[in-house]
């Protein structure tokens, strides 16, 4: 379990080459406007690269299950941070009490209030 796993140099070079290719793709993609997909593609490539680094350069692929559990749970904690923070940002405009967008207010009564206030 604690024995050091020797990774062949070939794998390191292959992973390095993959990282370089992804970097090139990132640069190339930045010249193409993909609309809403811009961020998705950039983050997708970044996550792929980070996964390669964690698995091969940081030896997690060859580590005991406990190490894998630690890595996964810290990742899960990052997901908590992102999901619950986004939970605030995404839902913030759902209920505007008709103040900002009087015509898209979800409930009739608020719309009436909004119109009363605005007019």
């Amino acid at each position: 379990m604690s024995a050091t796993h020797i990774v062949p140099k070939k794998i390191y070079f292959a992973v390095f080459a993959a990282l370089m290719v992804f970097t090139a793709i990132t640069v190339a993609v930045s010249f193409v406007d993909l609309g809403p997909l811009n961020t998705v593609v950039a983050l997708g490539i970044a996550i792929t690269k980070a996964t390669l680094v964690v698995l091969y350069f940081m030896h997690v692929k060859y580590s005991p299950r406990l190490t894998k559990l630690v890595v996964l749970s810290s990742l899960f904690w990052l997901v908590i941070l992102l999901v619950m923070t986004m939970g605030d940002y995404v839902t913030r405009d759902w209920r505007t009490y008709g103040m900002n967008q009087p015509h898209s207010a979800p409930y009739g009564i608020e719309r009436t209030i909004a119109e009363t206030v605005n007019l």
Binding site: S74, L81, M84, D88, R92
Partner: protein, 541 residues
Amino acid sequence: MSSSTELKLPPNNYLHDGYGWKSWLLTRDHKRIALLYLAAITFFFIIGGAFAVGIRLDLATPAGDMVTDDTYNKLFTMHGVMMVFFFLIPAVPATLGNFLLPLMIGAKDLAFPKINLASWYIYMIGSLFTLYAIIAGGLDTGWTFYTPFSTAASTSAVLPAGLGIFINGFSSILTGLNFIVTIHRMRAPGMTWFRLPLFIWAHYATSIIMILGTPVVAVTLVMVVAERAFHFGIFDPAVGGDPVLFQHLFWFYSHPAVYIMVLPSMGIISELIAAFCRKQIFGYTFVAFSSLGIAVLGFLVWGHHMFVAGESVYAALVFSLISFFVAIPSAVKVFNWTATMYKGSVEWATPMLYAIGFIGLFTIGGLTGLFLASIGIDVHVTDTYFVVAHFHYVMVGGTIMAYLGGLHYWWPKISGRMYPERLAKIAAVIVFVGFNLTFFPQFILGYLGMPRRYHAYPPEFQLLNVLSSAGASILAIGYLLPMFYFAWSLRYGPIAGSNPWGAVGLEWNTTSPPPTLNFEETPVVTWDAYEYPTPVEGHVA
């Protein structure tokens, strides 16, 4: 006292293993490092306390005529920064935790002794930056560093203070890492997970929070420094940032940080209750898992700090609901402690007085937390003294009561000598009375609408404020007394012997003070935690 002439300190104890400053500053002994931490946090406690004295003196009169409003802002900020980051967070884990963790699991030291020493040095370097911030004109952002004030408006020493806390964070992470590895890998033969003392379970849960939470606040403070120094648009709306994002990131750590402060304290209370009721803790497994439950749930509630900060009402609803869930594991602990006392052979020694005080004060602090988790009430009392009273009940009434109780309980193990019991009991009562007199009026003040962080207030609030200031002076006496009699007992205290309380637990199975490697031979554990003999009928402690 008569026995002290017969007993002698063991000659091969860790205190006598090398003399001179080098033997302390370059030590790798977890017990000596714990004492280095003890000295450091006591120093910062005194500094933070001095700022509190300034606050309470200024609030004795409605006009706030002792210091200017700017100075007042700096007083409460530096009181908060010093107490939270440099006293409360390391208070129990870095001192008692460091000292006891290897002893309690039957190990010779922590897994990484050099990293343990490094964590103390990192803590000291961080503290130097923050002390520099105090000298360089002080800090006025509040301990929470809220943006955009801290990045765009404040003219005070935000950079050194932020860097100091950033550096200090690494010390916390390293301590947590050390504890987790030690608990996993270095338990004595026979010390299974469910034979671990609850103090260890509490520290395990705390270490998880330290490792998962601290990097977030560190990164957040780096972003504050980056925005302030290089005008990156992260939090300041004027340059395209979002100030509420700061609050999300800050409280993602700083709410769990409350559990870094209180979970180890709960571990202490479990030890004290078992030792002074001579009973196995009622519902051991539930108490152990409630620590982990608090650690996990604690990460899901941070949004309750932002109910009035522009957070979405839908997110607020979710955060409010989960905040209520935290009450479940907390109540499991409180009810199980009281159930342990039931039909126990209760001995009213000083540590037990602190434990009882903790249970009462923590319950008040926790229940008022439920008030604040209810969005409707929170809107009414946000940023009032109600909040101030609430978190002081948890942090001071909880953490510091348990810290003092633990310090008294393990002082014979740390120093090999007893403290004066009668004086200590008086000090414990003074702390309890002074604490309540200081902070209970603040609940009323807050409910009546007195805002926090103001240095002047309407005259009708004066009576309650004077009560609070008077209580603070009593509390100060209660804190100073132990400092004096602990120092006194180092030289004049009666020799304690290896197990003055007749407690079970591996730390009492070695000499007091223990040898550098803790045990003469590695203990083999064949019993459960807190396996006290069944009380004899009619037995009086």
